[in-house]
Amino acid sequence: MKNNFKFITELIKLRLSHIMTFRLGFFAPFFINTSYFLVQLFAFEAIYGHVDNIRGWGHGEILIFIGTFSLIDTLNMIICFFGVISIPEKIQTGELDLYLTKPVNPLLRITFEKVNPGSIPLLVFSACIIVYGVKESNMSLSYTNIIGYLCLVFLMTILYYDLELLIRCFAFFVFSINNLMKIENTATDLCLKIPGIAFSGIYKFIFYCALPYGVIATLPTQAFIGVLSVKGLIFGVAIVCIFTFIALSFWTYGVHRYESASS
């Protein structure tokens, strides 16, 4: 464990010195994320400018929801996104060999080797939206709610990572995963615009259990506004554990099946 931390620290140092060499590259993710973020914000304002509330959540709660989704997405972007999205290419070109033959956990290295500090300002934007949402809804916050919220944001960041990894691991078995990534993008876009509480029936099953993008920002928001039940909390923890187990098992299985560039 201690060695892993040392290794991650070294990876981050290497990454920082690398990206500082290409300064525009350092800020590029910030501009890209900001444009994406502004688009989503405009879309949100455009939709909810015509809708007063959605299953009991008013404008303030929805703003907290959007801010939370953005916060989790940004954390993902800073820590592991650029590493995880490179997995299919590494598999197809055989570059994964270089990772498998090193005496460190290959997944650990891939996950943390491309940290992206250029997205850090977006954390501030996300926090601003959440604060604005709190003001809009006139709610009183308690320390328990804030701690519960932060814990769930942490757990949901892991879940987001699991889903990203799971989809990219299909590259071990098929030639192109572009279409799977399109499904991922469409599902993320949908769940960014609509809170999980709005789903019912088969859709609730899909977005809570099969492709749990629906819980990613919903559960932390529920904890924040103080409406998350114990059952909901247990469900959140369970879904993270299950998907982490599935993603890691799938990765391990994929690595066993991997036959270098010819696979």
Partner: protein, 264 residues
């Protein structure tokens, strides 16, 4: 013209090699429609209309706009050009006896032609299978205006992406611009949400830009809305296309001397 038709034909044949991929692409465009159905059926609860559109009109809009959005593949032009200019393989387009702009537009037309046909039938099939209530204009003139606008819109996007591709000669690394362009264009063309949901002052401003006429207005015309904007739309979009044809030619002539065939 014959040369460009040959180019388009060659790329259309190339699409046939990847026909399953194209089919999956089209089927996945339906995922977007289904997700729009979920979103709007929740938002429409207890409401007859949102921004002047009923539920049926909203879903019809998403069906048409998703079809048009999946047709638009011109982002590949700028990516392809940027890659080839950087690694020095762009020379092959400079030595053939066609204009590069015309070549890339013909290439785009060839790629679109195949997926347009498949997409049309698949979308029709989805309508039938899911019994989706669909609104469609019955006015032939408006239908014709909508179809011409779709063609002009696709042409404009191809020209825009060609222009961005040429910028590689000036800026060397344009992937950041391209990603920002992708993010913004999905929104301003109306592929994310119908632009009618935006504030009136913003719509008034967007009307001067070509993006308004690429996906949003043709989709609205085809579902029988905004009919009074059809002629103005055709005029504005034609002007933008002419501007970009001239701009692209001038920019290419200006910057092509920077290319040395050995990569940047």
């Amino acid at each position: 013209m014959k040369k460009y038709i040959e180019v388009a034909r060659a790329y259309m044949k190339a699409q046939l090699v990847w026909r399953l991929d194209t089919l999956v692409d089209v089927i996945l465009a339906v995922a977007k429609i289904l997700f729009a159905w979920i979103l709007w059926s929740i938002l429409f609860e207890g409401k007859e209309q949102i921004a002047g559109l009923g539920f049926q009109a909203m879903i019809s809009y998403y069906i048409v706009s998703s079809y048009l959005f999946q047709l638009e593949k011109s982002a590949e032009i700028s990516q392809q050009m940027a890659g080839m200019l950087r690694n020095g393989t762009f020379s092959k387009y400079m030595v053939i006896p066609v204009q590069t702009q015309g070549y890339f537009v013909a290439m785009e037309a060839g790629k679109i032609a195949f997926s347009a046909v498949i997409g049309f039938f698949v979308t029709f099939l989805w309508f039938y299978l899911f019994r989706i209530p669909f609104l469609f204009t019955t006015d032939r003139k408006i239908l014709l205006c909508g179809i011409i606008m779709v063609v002009l819109g696709l042409l404009f996007m191809a020209l825009l992406n060609y222009f961005l591709g040429i910028l590689t000669l000036k800026f060397e690394e344009i992937s950041t611009f391209l990603m920002i362009k992708d993010n913004l264009s999905a929104f301003v063309t109306g592929a994310v949400i119908p632009l009618v949901l935006l504030p009136e002052w913003l719509i008034a401003g967007v009307r001067f830009l070509p993006f308004y006429y690429v996906t949003y207005l043709p989709s609205m015309l085809l579902i029988g809305k905004c009919e009074d904007e059809a002629i103005t739309g055709l005029f504005v979009l034609s002007v933008w296309c002419i501007v970009f044809i001239v701009l692209n030619q001038a920019t290419y002539e200006h910057y092509r001397i920077k290319y040395d065939g050995a990569g940047i």
